[in-house]
Symmetry: C2
Subunit: 290 residues, 2 copies
């Protein structure tokens, strides 16, 4: 690359609810941002690729640049639902610019921990758990709500409905949260049945803030769930082991709310995430050029 060619860096973070992109200069200063539709590679590989490209075009445009700058740009695209290397290569081959493609767990860790070693538990709609030694990540869990994703927002929301039904049936003590959920779903179990028959993980996760708030008010059901979620976090962190001198990072919309439910030794090494998966994608793009 000639010294007089301006070089740009692109980071993309795509997930089931949308896809975001940034374009930055050689110093990492963001020049433009773009948004596009869902980009989960398992759900729809072609659409994920199209939306990733669309988000990048919008970022380029927002930066006041022309699309041809992408010919000399270094990009990292992290997408939810990338299951293996062949799938990542397929997306890379289909994108209308050169890019490295990974799953969004990779960008999530790079964004949250950067060059700090530690364990990352990402709890948004789903669960991501990673041990990061500064160069390589080891992942566990996050296999989807049906059989995994313990402690996540979707898991909290679904479990709260389940406990509300147990309370309704007299199989556990009731609580404010239980009644609140029952009322919200139409006042009887049939409403919950109808909701659950169609609910996506995102639909369940939309109930998680109610659980978090209720736990703050010592609600019986909510406290039970936060305790069970924290137990999963505890087991995951101890299975990994925190690297010497490393941190524990609880990220995602739900993650930090577990702080008060953790054992003291884990709370002592807590550190906030340094950045988002989008920041991680950009930093991985810039690391490629080094």
């Amino acid at each position: 690359m000639d010294d007089d060619t301006p070089s740009y860096f692109v980071g993309v973070d795509g997930g089931g609810s949308g896809c975001r992109a940034v374009i930055a200069d050689a110093m990492g200063h963001v020049l433009g941002r773009g948004d596009a539709g869902p980009a989960n590679a398992t759900t729809d590989l072609v659409l994920a690729t199209l939306h990733a490209a669309d988000a990048v075009y919008q970022a380029v445009s927002a930066a006041g640049l022309e699309r041809d700058v992408l010919a000399s740009t270094t990009a990292h695209v992290g997408l939810a639902g990338i299951m293996d290397l062949p799938m990542a290569r397929q997306v890379a081959a289909d994108l209308p610019f050169r890019a490295r493609v990974s799953d969004d767990r990779r960008t999530f860790v790079a964004g949250a921990l950067g060059d700090t070693r530690g364990v990352l538990i990402g709890l948004g709609t789903g669960t991501i758990a990673a041990r990061w030694d500064g160069r390589k990540a080891r992942f566990i869990g996050g296999y989807g709500l049906q059989v995994s994703d313990q402690a996540s927002g979707a898991w909290l929301g679904r479990a709260a409905l389940s406990e509300a039904l147990l309370a309704h049936d007299g199989l556990r003590p009731g609580s404010e949260l239980g009644e609140q959920l029952m009322t919200r779903m139409g006042g009887d179990p049939g409403g919950i049945v109808a909701f659950a028959a169609r609910a996506t993980p995102a639909d369940y996760a939309a109930l998680a803030p109610l659980v978090v708030t209720a736990a703050g008010a010592q609600d019986d059901i909510a406290c039970d769930l936060m305790r069970r979620g924290a137990d999963y976090i505890d087991r995951a962190v101890r299975a990994f082991g925190i690297p010497r001198g490393g941190v524990l990072c609880l990220a995602g919309g739900v993650g930090p709310h577990y702080t008060g439910w953790l054992a003291d030794d884990l709370r002592a090494v807590l550190a906030p995430p340094r950045g988002s998966a989008l920041d991680g994608a950009l930093s991985l793009a810039m690391a490629q050029a080094r």
Copy 2:
């Protein structure tokens, strides 16, 4: 009805995997049987109605009778997924013969307990829990696998996959069952993820026999799950209270396998189911005529 008009009784039991019908004479002797496709009223009301009628026509034909006998027949049709009275009436109005229609829980209780009072826990693909005083039933639970159906076959199968993943990640002790499931699903978590992305409750329930067998061999994961399932049964039975002199009946394909996991006082009042939901439907049809 004239004394010289032969009168027949029809019972129908319809569920998500198929629909069965019997036609019997006035003494309750079964003259013919019929089978047809899925008949879950929530999944597809029209198809459920068509399949119920089809099963009855086949039973009539198998009995060597003509369809016009249905003009003077008393029928009870129990279908899964009947949520309320208007839905039951809709099916009754659409059937090409006169019938009372109820959900399959009603026929299940009538078949299993008949004129014996008690608590019925039906554990097949899903869960049915009922307290029966000989005339009326009170139901709890069974709100579907997403938020309920604890202890059921589908619940056992799905929970076993979940525990197998936890064992794979080092978050719980592994076991034969965990490895068996992992191997069956292709040898890595990706196989379970792919299975779970498409699995119906029936698909999960197909794994339940593995859990039951493993529990018999003291498998760690399997024993944990049977214990958790038995805990749900225990809580449900005690929430109901067994009527004085009544029995506890564990029905369905999975139900009896919990026997060894129950508290002594519950085991002491166990009684096997007297008959199936199809028997129950026929007995309800005959009771209508009395």
